[in-house]
């Protein structure tokens, strides 16, 4: 009986194997191959092997883009940690009724198109827009700040787009927390601050780390935020790849950039798995 069951089950996984091999593994392999090929004069690629695309990345202009992207991702992730962790933590401590309400309230912006939410920021940040007029009305500034198309605008946009991921991962791990451990520590004379840093923070680390991964990785690739809120002034790796692909039509170089970004991403994920000692990202599913 078991034999028959096993014999037929493979039929179920065939489409999945097929799809994963053809539309995930093969395209990734093609990207790697492409990154070692020389670009043809006018269109497409030649069959010549080269390492030039990788050498190109070390040109100061491009290297600088990588460094800038990492810096921005780091900056945004730091802000998100300090905003998202307390939010997730406080939220998990609310009463059951309010907890559900806040989850629902979080879901609405989370499910709303990121583009649309960015557009709201354009209206707010635009010179002489809502923010400028509000700040001038309360006499915080005399002149319009003209925040749109500046670095801070991009930072706000990124934080805004990615904060819910952090909140939800922290929330789900604080929810699972065994509060009796903290009570025990308090009974034994630990101050609440001490108890937080030695117990709560440690036990909710998987959630915090998965939140960091979920914000750090996308923040390197969200080229449209930099595009819309930063004008053409802020160029991130994402923008560079898009530009090389669509405008410069240098596909091998775009592929090399993507390979490096993929390696960077897998390093972060591997590090996460090592530190958090889990395989799945908390709160994602």
């Amino acid at each position: 009986m078991k034999g028959i069951k096993k014999n037929r089950a493979w039929l179920l996984v065939i489409p999945f194997y097929f799809y994963t091999i053809i539309f995930v593994i093969l395209p990734l392999a093609y990207m790697i191959l492409l990154s070692f090929l020389r670009r043809a004069e006018i269109w497409g690629v030649t069959k010549e092997f080269t390492l030039d695309n990788y050498k190109n990345i070390f040109e100061p202009v491009y290297l600088n883009t990588f460094v800038e992207s990492l810096k921005l991702a780091l900056l945004c992730t730091t802000f998100i940690v300090f905003l998202g962790y307390p939010f997730g933590y406080f939220m998990a401590k609310l009463s059951e009724k309010w907890k559900n309400r806040v989850v629902t309230l979080l879901m609405i912006p989370f499910w709303t198109s990121a583009l649309i939410r960015m557009y709201g920021w354009i209206i707010i940040f635009r010179s002489n827009g809502l923010m400028d007029r509000f700040f001038m009305a309360i006499h915080l500034t005399e002149k319009p700040l003209r925040l749109l198309y500046t670095y801070p605008a991009v930072v706000v946009g990124m934080i805004y787009a990615l904060l819910p991921f952090m909140i939800l991962s922290v929330y789900s791990s604080v929810e699972k927390l065994d509060w009796s451990l903290i009570e025990a520590a308090r009974d034994l004379g630990a101050s609440s601050v001490h108890a937080f840093f030695t117990i709560t923070l440690k036990l909710t680390m998987p959630g915090l780390l998965s939140g960091i991964v979920l914000t750090f990785i996308p923040s390197m690739g969200l080229f449209f935020v930099a595009d819309i809120l930063g004008g053409n002034k802020i160029v991130l790796v994402g923008n560079l790849i898009q530009e090389q692909l669509m405008k410069a039509r240098n596909w091998p170089f775009a592929a090399a950039l993507s390979v490096v970004l993929t390696i960077l991403t897998s390093l972060i994920l591997t590090l996460y798995r090592k530190v958090a000692k889990v395989r799945e990202l908390e709160g994602l599913f």
Partner: protein
């Protein structure tokens, strides 16, 4: 005691207010009569009328609905079959394939878009709805697969075994026992897939054809070349849709 809960609550409220600020701004300005968003000229439904008259916009809405619908159905079929099948096979490759299948949601979207763009043009596929559905299905499968799999892992196997011992055939067991138990996971995987596909701009930009516009791609191009307040009206309608879906699923969840 009261003071101790005040600071956390204030913090939650402030963050939520900031989160809703851009959304509220869009809703308010969708009723603005003026074409310039910095000027307020009174309440009007002008942009809603123009939106419904804008044929290219309506076509983009239709394309996005078709795309998200097809991708989430594909993902539901392939992902559910795989999650069920994977529990019953002992192939060495299954761990590796499961790992590779989740890559599309692990790597930055831009890389996925780039990879599909170069690969599809290598295959010589014409860019349009077909390439869009192929690409979107690839990143929707992991959502359904992972959700159904974790549901199956937490499931009581003895139910299936009991039914089989009582003489029910494999297919019957699947449809009467397994499917109802994993249905919630399939539905939430599909909902998430639909939302992700409907919302996607990065991957779509790379794999869409010159004539097939999806809604986010259209909005994105408009945002880059000066926006029409139509976008405000459209966003408000989409927001209303989102609220209805979330509210609806909340009501269903509470009734259980």
């Amino acid at each position: 005691m009261k003071n101790r809960t005040k600071i956390p609550n204030m913090f939650l409220i402030i963050i939520l207010v900031i989160m809703y600020l851009p959304i509220l701004v869009i809703i308010v300005y969708s009723f603005n009569a003026s074409k310039i968003s910095t000027v307020w000229e009174g309440v009007s439904l002008r942009w809603y009328q123009e939106l419904f008259r804008d044929r290219s916009m309506m076509e983009a809405v239709r394309n996005s609905l078709i795309l998200a619908g097809l991708s989430c159905i594909n993902a539901a079929i392939i992902g559910t079959m795989a999650a069920v099948g994977m529990m019953r096979i002992s192939w060495k490759s299954k761990g590796m394939i499961a790992y590779f299948s989740t890559i599309p949601i692990m790597i930055p979207e831009i890389i996925l878009g780039m990879v599909f763009m170069v690969f599809f043009s290598f295959l010589g596929l014409p860019f349009g709805m077909v390439t869009l559905v192929l690409a979107h299905t690839a990143f929707c499968i992991p959502y359904v697969f992972t959700m159904v799999r974790s549901r199956l892992i937490g499931m009581d196997v003895s139910l299936e075994e009991a039914a089989r011992d009582l003489g029910a055939g494999e297919i019957k067991v699947f449809f009467t026992i397994t499917l109802p138990l994993i249905a919630p996971a399939i539905v939430s995987g599909m909902l998430l897939s639909f939302a992700m596909s409907f919302d996607d701009v990065v991957i779509s930009i790379f794999v869409t054809g010159a004539t097939t516009n999806t809604l986010p791609v259209k909005i994105y191009t408009q945002m880059k070349n000066g926006v029409s307040p139509e976008i405000n009206a459209l966003s408000t309608i989409m927001l209303l849709g989102t609220i209805l879906v979330i509210g609806g699923s909340e009501v269903i969840r509470r009734k259980r």
